[in-house]
């Protein structure tokens, strides 16, 4: 019996030693918690790959001021409990900054643990929580393009503009998750103020088998425009169902990362996507750079999925370049508060942060759709600015 206990105890201590995280060697250590597997991975894996590829290139070219950037990637599967463990690991490893590219379920864990340890947190893939918006929380930053209120502030006037004076019978589509429903409610309010007819509003469950009944409801309500601010599966599921029903209205939805790929796949003229990143159809030099790097580093997703993550990586790169000593949190924070990152035309304008605004001072939107006449994706509306107050 005594032997059993000794065996058990030694095994236990051995396990403890094995699991203890070791701080790395590099001067610049960044921790990234992403939903690499799990139901949300389709949305966040490309962002993880973008970061991985971007910084692999930076390190191959010598790093920043001769220091390689050590990235610690962890998979939180979109779960809050896992995210909490991961942040504790990061704290033990003494990272300078924590990046989150995961579902909103992970936010609370990352926010509370990061703030307790006084490590800045950057949200780079999922929707921004309220902390980075003015008045900003000192430790929380966000580079993600979409924002609950500002997106609708752009979208509703856009719909009005596109309708060219005709009456708009608007339908709203959200996913049955709180953030999406809130986003749609904001849009609804703005639409009412703009004098549009709200014909239908729905929140659709996450694991819907068949979007047809939802689409029929929209069609029968007589909507000529539909605005969707939801997860991509919902947005495209309803759109395709509407298409299969022969609906001829216009559909405007957020350009999540699969958007360009889908526009190219569907080749339909009535699907409008609006977003904050320039699509590959514009063929900018920065896009060519992504293509080259992605090929070399073995990304599994098509390059069109990587723009959001790439732009976030650019922001991080600029931050690290601007700060002489990232491992000193007060220095890093004060440097981040002065960020003005050149986005290489991938976004409508530079990302500028200040002490009170960790989202950006201005946010820019662009609208694309497929044009079957031209056989490619065209820009429907050039960069439009929305001020963030």
């Amino acid at each position: 019996m005594g032997k059993k206990i000794i065996i058990f105890l030694s095994a236990f201590l051995g396990l403890v030693l094995f699991l203890t995280p070791q701080p790395g060697n590099s001067q610049i250590r960044i921790g990234m918690s992403a939903a690499i597997t799990g139901p949300a991975s389709d949305t966040f894996l490309p962002t993880y790959e973008a970061f991985k590829c971007y910084f692999q290139k930076i390190n191959d070219e010598g790093g920043i001021r001769g220091q390689k950037v050590e990235f610690i990637f962890e998979d939180d599967r979109g779960e809050s409990a896992r995210a909490m463990s991961i942040v504790k690991k990061f704290i033990d490893r003494k990272v300078a900054l924590i990046i989150n590219a995961s579902t909103s379920a992970t936010y609370a864990a990352i926010l509370s643990e990061g703030k307790n340890a006084k490590i800045p947190v950057l949200f780079a893939g999922g929707v921004c929580p309220k902390e980075p918006y003015p008045p900003a929380d000192p430790y929380v930053f966000c580079s993600t393009t979409f924002g609950v209120t500002y997106d609708s502030e752009f979208a509703i006037p856009f719909i009005k503009e596109m309708s060219k004076g005709e009456k708009v019978n608007l339908g709203f589509v959200a996913t049955n998750i709180p953030i999406s429903r809130t986003g749609v409610e904001v849009a609804e309010k703005l639409a009412k103020e703009a004098g549009m007819n709200i014909k239908e509003k729905m929140a659709i469950p996450l694991d819907t088998a068949d979007y047809t009944p939802f689409a029929s409801k929209i069609k029968e309500a007589g909507c000529n425009w539909v605005f969707s601010w939801a997860i991509w599966n919902t947005q495209i599921g309803v759109y395709e169902a509407l298409y299969r029903l022969g609906w001829k209205g216009n559909y405007l939805c957020w350009a999540h990362i699969p958007a360009e790929y889908e526009l190219n796949r569907l080749k339909t003229d009535n699907l409008f996507v609006f977003g904050g990143n320039a699509l590959f159809s514009e063929n900018l030099p920065a896009h060519q750079e992504i293509i080259n790097v992605a090929k070399k580093c073995g990304a599994t997703y098509p390059v069109t999925y990587m723009v959001e993550g790439w732009t976030a990586a650019i922001v991080l790169h600029e931050i690290l370049k601007a700060c002489p000593n990232p491992n000193d949190p007060p220095q890093l924070l004060s440097s981040m508060n002065k960020t003005s990152a050149n986005m290489r035309e991938l976004r409508g304008g530079p990302i500028e942060w200040s002490v009170s605004n960790h989202f950006r001072t201005n946010t820019y939107y662009k609208v694309y759709k497929w044009d079957s006449g031209k056989g490619k994706i065209v820009t429907v509306k050039e960069w439009s600015k929305v001020e963030v107050k």
Partner: protein, 290 residues
């Protein structure tokens, strides 16, 4: 009218799902909780074959079905047959474990990206005006025809072929069937093959009509209600069960709230379990035997 058409198509899809559960329940007396994953595999095999042999077009579907059927037999041999003496719940847990395993392997092989098999094959899924006010897509129609064909074929098979009769015998009284020289292990193996056959057909149809990614396996759970409502051991009950669940779901979307559609199948399931656990057409005594 459109609502009715939508209900019909959803019923057809759910029936294809549901019959797989019934077949396996009759054979092995357990719930195959990995059915959703097998359905998903059907979609993935279709996708892979389509990517490698796009010229074969519609022919890929029967090929995929055959492969999946064989896979079903393999799964039976490797993981269900060894559980023969163990409690039923343990076998059900094995299927749960299998489900996780299959899903993990799918992610390994095909990543979590959403796939669209039809794009690869080059088939377009266009809306077709059927009657005034009713529009269905190509694959909606295929679902209806496919489900109908499968059911008809199955009905004839079970009722009139020798093997079909053997299946019925083995399902009712395995021991007696064995005494009469029926190799019930082989019968069960084929049952699993048939279940994967129908399930993967549903998977192919769904993957073509909607999308293909690792999360669609969750539909298998919704399709449970179909089997329970109709009667876990009743073939006759599959269609009425599917009809009830599909109707419930769609009516909930229209008249209560779209959110309710998520739990409508489960509410129906619970109601059925409380008032009539053996379903519409199931055998009452099944309840005690479990």
């Amino acid at each position: 009218m459109q609502t009715l058409a939508s209900i019909l198509v959803l019923t057809a899809l759910y029936s294809l799902f549901g019959i797989g559960y019934v077949i396996i329940y009759r054979a092995s007396r357990l719930l195959n909780l990995a059915h959703g994953e097998m359905m998903m595999l059907g979609g993935y095999f279709f996708f892979t074959l389509a990517t490698s042999f796009p010229m074969l077009s519609y022919l890929i579907i029967p090929i995929t079905l055959v492969i999946c059927a064989l896979l079903g037999i393999l799964i039976y041999r490797l993981s269900i047959k060894p559980m023969a003496g163990h409690p039923i719940f343990a076998a059900v847990l094995v299927t749960i474990g299998l489900g996780i395993l299959i899903r993990g392997i799918s992610i390994l092989l095909w990543t979590s990206r959403t796939r669209y098999p039809l794009t690869v094959v080059g088939i377009k899924n266009e809306p077709i005006q059927m009657l005034p006010g009713v529009v269905l897509s190509t694959f909606d129609i295929l679902t209806l025809i496919g489900a109908g064909a499968v059911f008809l074929a199955f009905f004839l098979f079970i009722k009139f072929t020798k093997f079909g009769i053997q299946m019925r015998a083995a399902a009712e009284k395995p021991l007696l069937a064995a005494l009469r020289g029926i190799d019930y292990n082989w019968v069960f193996a084929v049952s699993w093959g048939l279940a994967t056959f129908t399930g993967s057909f549903a998977g192919i149809l769904y993957a073509s009509n909607v999308r293909l990614d690792p999360t669609i396996a969750i539909l298998g759970l919704k399709a449970f209600s179909v089997a329970v409502v109709g009667g876990l051991d009743s073939f006759r009950g599959v269609f009425p069960g599917a009809a009830m669940v599909a109707t419930g779901e769609i009516l909930a979307i229209f008249y209560i709230s779209p959110l309710m559609s998520d739990i409508a199948p489960f509410v129906l399931l619970l109601i059925m379990l409380l008032i009539r656990p053996w379903g519409l057409f199931g055998t009452k005594e099944e309840l005690e035997r479990v």
